[in-house]
Amino acid sequence: MKVEDLYQEIILDHYRTKHHSGLRQPYDAEVRHVNPTCGDEVLLRVRLDGDTVTDVSYEAMGCSISQASTSVMTDLVIGNDIAYDLDLYEEFLTMMQSKGQIEPDEERLEDGIAFAGVAKFPARVKCALIGWSAFRDAVLRAQSEPKASVVKEMEQ
């Protein structure tokens, strides 16, 4: 595989025009993930409404792969059930760890299938995963920590 094929138009498009970028209020959890080897960083927030992910907002610095992957991830997860999104995370993770051996399901991963080629470059797998890992972490934290609003209701 040529490296030029790695940088598919889908990836470069998302890199140039990041979807759902920027930090928004309100949110239920905020996490910061870093990749010390290259200095990539993502600060990510999730907003939940019951079992639904209603918003994912973020501020990220990093390479085209990490930026584009985070952008694609927000398109895929916002508006869905938490359980569905966590399954999607597992599916994306499996694809990225497959060294390019797995044929991804385009129905479910949509633009995410563009990263199947990245899985053939071990040094870049972390780049493609940083946004997804931050999302999963943020969702789990939002679920484990009682929300401020909920606490107030209990006090009353």
Binding site: E4, L12, G39, A123
Partner: protein
């Protein structure tokens, strides 16, 4: 970072030299701020910067340090492989360098020190070879260097390091130094022709080693991340480093998130520099959407 660990253990205060926008050590600012004063115990500087390539005036800094009674510690990891270093004339008290940057093995390096200073230091590891007399009540320790070489040494690495030193010595450090200056000047000249490329550190081969860090932007001004630069260069057989090069605060000082670094040594040729310049030109066009 090791000095932060030491400061946490000892309660010492860690203060920093700044650099000028040209990437030189800012000794004027240090003097104005009284950075080196009678409370200064240790001054630690790098001889040749692994990011900026700057060659620092070690003898001058050592004199400033000794005037206030400070111990001067020098990281010569980038200097020893590139320059003919006269340790005694340098004026530093402790000088460290590593095998893997001088065509030697990994996992081994050298700490050179003034003997009185080494003789005054306690052991930092216990084990075979570092003891003198051991009793159940207490022990005495071997004199330097054995005091600091506890346990089974990395014998194969030491033999490899000696071979590397002999190899460089046979070529001649003056020849290596001349080549390094020539190849760095040639690279800087080529890099300066690339629009969108910004060199971190001195852009002339004066008091400068053979490591050149830079940032790259596409024709529309959009920065191209070093990880993307290095990946495209790698596909063309060109190996560079992308990231912080173990110097995140320095990147913050220059207002950049990270950088790409090309390093040259005695085996680097003009044709390889040409390939680097071509590769960077291609990278800029590729991410600018021109190809």
């Amino acid at each position: 970072m090791p000095w932060q660990l030491l400061a946490q253990r000892s309660g010492a205060v860690l203060r920093w030299f700044d650099v000028t926008n040209q990437g030189r050590l800012d000794l004027d600012k240090a003097a104005a701020e009284g950075l080196i004063n009678e409370r200064t115990k240790i001054i630690s500087v790098t001889y040749v910067s692994n990011v900026l390539g700057t060659v620092n005036p070690i003898s001058h800094i050592a004199a400033l340090g000794h005037a206030v009674g400070a111990t001067v510690v020098v990281d010569a990891s980038q200097a020893v492989p590139q320059l003919a270093v006269d340790f005694a004339a340098l004026g530093a008290d402790l000088v460290a360098f590593t095998g893997h940057k001088m065509v030697g093995p990994t996992g081994i390096g050298v700490l050179w020190g003034r003997y009185e200073l080494l003789a005054a230091l306690p052991p930092f590891l216990g084990g075979g070879e570092m003891i003198e007399i051991v009793t159940m009540e207490g022990s005495t320790y071997a004199p330097p260097p054995h005091r600091f070489e506890a346990g089974t040494p990395p014998i194969a690495q030491a033999v490899g390091l000696a071979a590397a030193a002999q190899y460089l010595g046979a070529i001649g450090m003056d020849q290596i130094s001349d080549h390094e200056r020539d190849i760095t000047a040639y690279a800087l000249q080529g890099l300066r022709t690339l629009p969108g490329l910004t060199i971190l550190g001195p852009d002339e081969a004066v008091d400068r080693g053979g490591a050149v860090s830079f940032t790259l932007a596409a024709p529309d001004g959009q920065p191209i991340h070093p990880h993307d630069v290095s990946h495209l260069l790698d596909s063309r057989g060109i190996a560079v480093r992308a990231g912080h090069h173990c110097a995140r605060p320095l990147h913050e000082r220059f207002g950049v998130q990270s950088s790409t670094r090309a390093s040259f040594y005695l085996y680097t040729t003009h044709a390889e520099i040409d390939a680097l310049i071509d590769g960077l030109d291609y990278t800029t066009s590729f991410f600018g959407g021109l190809r």
